[in-house]
């Protein structure tokens, strides 16, 4: 990063006043308010129409998405009009990099939860160490192993009649998604997902490489492959969830394993979907409007950084959620 600031004295483009932020605020607030009310089954106005909280949510979300669309097109048009100095482009790049860092920290919170449960909380519930010395009084025969197939509530029996839990009853899953050993690896869906996501990180790199050499055709080809790999990944992830709910008895409500499994893979899958949409938009921009040059392609570069980020998260996730 150029640490001396603006040595060329070029003009830094400060946009005129803009309605974008206020529109985005309205969209976001409606979305949030609708979601919070919908989750609580609150309704407004006509009491016979029970879905109007979610109606607020969808209207807000649509308005928010439309605003973001206009916002990004405004930024793109400004760049095409030549308003963006090299310095302003650096601001965008710095912004994206720190946004990705904030996403890393969001995942960190959920990894922290997983580690804490696996290394401390659940072993203590099984009576290990000083901290767990009295837990056998509460949780009887609970013994710790990971994946947690039997919850502490299972261990003391009669789960259906208990409301000892803070927020419900938890009964362990029948099967887990854990690594089945190398003999079975080809029947194991996460293996394919790993291959797909790692490959897509390479193909997006090749797309970038092609763009840097002004090879538009190859750029489109590799970017299309990347987006398709993303689609397949998300599809397989949904298939895995279907399997979990339909055949494994593994749900969000099956205790700590189900909780951490779905939350980590779920947020990751959501981020893959976002990254895929971002890359798809870059593809369409290049394909239909001929955006990007070999020296100026921030939209694509930022999306590819994001894509590499979801890839790195997957590697950690693969290791601690599925394998170890």
């Amino acid at each position: 990063m150029a640490s001396q600031g603006n040595t060329a004295h070029e003009v830094y483009y400060v946009p005129e006043s803009s309605k974008l932020a206020v529109c985005a605020t309205i969209g976001l607030v409606l979305t949030i308010f609708g979601a919070a009310s919908g989750i609580n089954d609150r309704t407004f106005g006509d009491p016979n129409e029970s879905t109007n909280s979610w109606f607020i949510f969808w209207v807000g979300l649509a308005f928010f998405a439309a605003t973001l669309f206009v916002w990004f097109s405004t930024a793109i048009k400004e760049n095409i009009a030549g308003k963006n100095s090299a310095q302003l482009k650096r601001s965008y790049a710095i912004g994206m990099q720190w946004f990705i860092f904030s996403e890393v920290m969001f995942f960190f919170a959920f990894f922290l939860a997983l580690f804490y449960i696996r290394w401390f909380a659940a072993p203590w519930l099984a009576g290990e160490g000083d901290a767990g010395r009295s837990n056998y009084l509460l949780w009887g025969d609970f013994s710790y192993s990971w994946p947690l197939m039997e919850t502490p509530q299972d261990a003391i029996g009669g789960v259906a009649n208990q409301v000892m839990a803070n927020n419900g009853v938890f009964s362990g899953p029948e099967r887990s998604m854990a690594f089945p050993g190398f003999g079975e690896i080809f029947k194991w869906l996460p293996f394919y997902n790993t291959v797909i996501l790692l490959t897509s990180s390479v193909t997006v790199h090749w797309a970038h490489h092609a763009l840097l050499h002004d090879n538009r055709k190859k750029f489109h080809q590799w970017l299309t492959v990347t987006v398709l790999l993303g689609v397949v990944f998300v599809g397989l992830q949904l298939l895995e969830y279907y399997e979990a709910y339909a055949h494994y008895g593994l749900t969000l409500e099956t205790g700590a394993y189900g909780t951490t499994f779905f939350m980590l893979t779920g947020f990751h899958g959501f981020h893959v979907a976002m990254g895929m949409i971002m890359l798809l938009i870059q593809l369409l921009r290049s394909y239909t409007k001929g955006h990007f040059t070999k020296d100026d392609h921030f939209g694509f570069a930022a999306s590819s950084w994001y894509w590499h980020f979801v890839d790195v998260v997957w590697i950690f996730l693969m290791l601690v959620v599925y394998i170890f």
Partner: protein, 524 residues
């Protein structure tokens, strides 16, 4: 850039991309929240004026302690310093505006609805959040009122605002410094904000994670915080305080920066130990990530954990003491004058140090078993939050108000505000050390008769402190409407820095062409 000036009417504020407008909005919003959070505090102190239940129901008292904390931390202090950053960082580093002006406007405008959402929970069925500003599970999950969902989403929006604000500040400082403004020439306020912004980007997402886990536990059957499913309510505390401890430095570091600008000005000496100030700030930020469990000594951690967090916490005293030493040494043999900003700054150094000492006492794990959840803790963190963050904020407003408005505030009224605040503050919180050490628990609407005298003193002090803020408001408004006009770019004769090279009042656009930073004009 075009010469677009301020638009007329309300749309100027709604659609603005100007860092000064946005800074102004942040400052007024945070002051409104300060009065709201303060009125909650007045209700708390009115109830605690005498033992027994007099004015409010315990359930409502819980909502007041919770909302007071939330509004003050997320609504008053944090946006106040973001407002200050918006106003001052571009002026101090010679930038034309913040790096991403439209996003800057968005960061501000999502805050008022977030707090409207939070405040509206008070009128919902079951009442507002009643589980303390730290919202420990299971109080905030299993036993929470239904409005907790609005609280959760409100926190998400506040977090989004903070993260975007912080990213903007980082991009501005890293990318928009004028030629010659190297990192080690930046004013200390800019340095402290750079580090604060890093902390914000690092921990606000963790807070978002914590409230997301709550949401999932409440509505979607997960068991993050339920032992029955293999989770642990203590997990909540770990995640929360992983955010929460850096958060307290997010609140105080910009205050350190403010005081490091003001003390040299009124001592007419350069800041003593500039480099060590930078390194001390960075060290504090680093240490803030490895001390979070000192908030949880009594929760049942293994002894190794207690010891680690105890020693790590006590290490923070080292860089903090370096800072206090530097402030005092800056004043040593200076030609001191005691204008209102300087009074607040000196009080900051003195009272923040008191808060630091009580922090050291709380850091000692075995002793904390006695102090935990007593009024001693309340006294401790109000010495850092009020005498630290709010005093430095008051100092900042008096210091830069002439630059912002082109008018001088009334010095007599400013000094009156200071002395009334100083007396009111100490009368409120100093006795709380004693009742805390004697075992009075916090967050309870009633107390033992033996605490009656000190609590009455506390309440009287709180009313005095609260009233003094109205004087502050009056002084600021009167400055804007009737203040004595000044046009000297350098309002204070001992001031250094680029912000004093632009005309007074600061024009709508400054540094459209970056200045060449001379050696002497950087941090002084």
């Amino acid at each position: 850039m075009g010469a677009h000036g301020p638009a007329k009417g309300l749309t100027r504020w709604l659609f603005t991309t100007n860092h000064k407008d946005i800074g102004t909005m942040y400052l007024w919003f945070s002051f409104a929240m300060f009065l709201l959070g303060g009125s909650f505090a007045m209700i708390i102190r009115a109830e605690l004026f005498q033992p027994g239940l007099q004015i409010v129901e315990p359930e409502f008292f819980n909502q007041m302690t919770t909302m007071h904390g939330l509004v003050m931390v997320f609504g008053a202090i944090m946006p106040a310093f973001v407002g200050l950053a918006n106003w001052m960082i571009p002026l101090m580093i010679g930038a034309p505006d913040m790096a991403l002006p439209r996003m800057n406007n968005w960061s501000f405008w999502i805050l008022p609805p977030a707090f409207a959402l939070l405040a509206s929970t008070l009128f919902m069925e079951g009442g507002g959040p009643n589980f303390g500003w730290t919202f420990y599970a299971p109080l905030s999950t299993t036993y929470a009122p239904p409005s907790v969902t609005y609280f959760i989403f409100g926190v998400h929006i506040m977090g989004l605002s903070s993260i975007m604000g912080a990213i903007n500040i980082i991009a501005t400082i890293v990318n928009m410094r004028a030629p010659g403004m190297t990192y080690m020439k930046m004013p200390l306020f800019v340095w402290t904000w750079l580090i604060t912004a890093f902390l914000l980007v690092a921990v606000m997402p963790v807070l978002a994670g914590a409230v997301t886990m709550m949401l999932m536990d409440i509505h979607f059957g997960t068991s993050f915080f339920s032992a029955a499913g293999g989770g642990d309510p203590v997990l909540f505390q770990h995640v929360f305080w992983f955010f929460g401890h850096p958060e307290v430095y997010i609140i105080i570091l910009p205050g350190f920066g403010v005081v490091s600008q003001i003390i040299p000005t009124f001592s007419r000496k350069p800041l003593f130990g500039y480099d060590s100030m930078v390194y001390a700030t960075a060290s504090i930020a680093f240490l803030s990530f490895i001390v979070w469990a000192h908030h949880m000594y009594t929760v049942g951690m293994p002894i190794a954990g207690e010891l680690f967090f105890m020693y790590a916490t006590m290490l923070i005293a080292v860089p903090t003491a370096a800072k206090v030493f530097n402030w005092i040494t800056t004043m040593f043999k200076g030609s001191l004058t005691f204008e209102t900003p300087m009074l607040f700054s000196i009080a900051f150094v003195f009272l923040f140090t008191v808060g630091g000492f009580s922090g050291l006492m709380l850091a000692i794990a075995p002793a904390d078993f006695q102090y935990h959840d007593t009024y001693f803790v309340v006294a401790h963190f109000h010495y850092t939050m009020v005498a630290g963050a709010i005093f430095s904020m008051s100092a900042a407003v008096y210091y830069w108000l002439p630059k912002w408005t082109g008018k001088m505030y009334n010095e007599t009224m400013g000094k009156t505000h200071f002395w009334v605040s100083f007396v009111g503050f100490n009368l409120t919180f100093f006795p709380q050390h004693f009742v805390g050490l004697a075992g009075m628990p916090r967050r309870i609407p009633d107390y033992n008769l033996m605490f009656a005298d000190f609590n009455m003193m506390s309440s009287i002090g709180a009313f005095i402190y609260g009233a003094s803020q109205l004087l502050f408001l009056f002084n600021v408004v009167r400055t804007i409407t009737h203040g004595e006009k000044i046009d000297d770019p350098k309002v204070w004769d001992g001031a250094h820095g680029l912000e004093w090279t632009v005309p007074t009042p600061a024009p709508y656009h400054t540094f459209t062409t970056p200045p060449d930073v001379k050696e002497v004009e950087a941090h002084g």
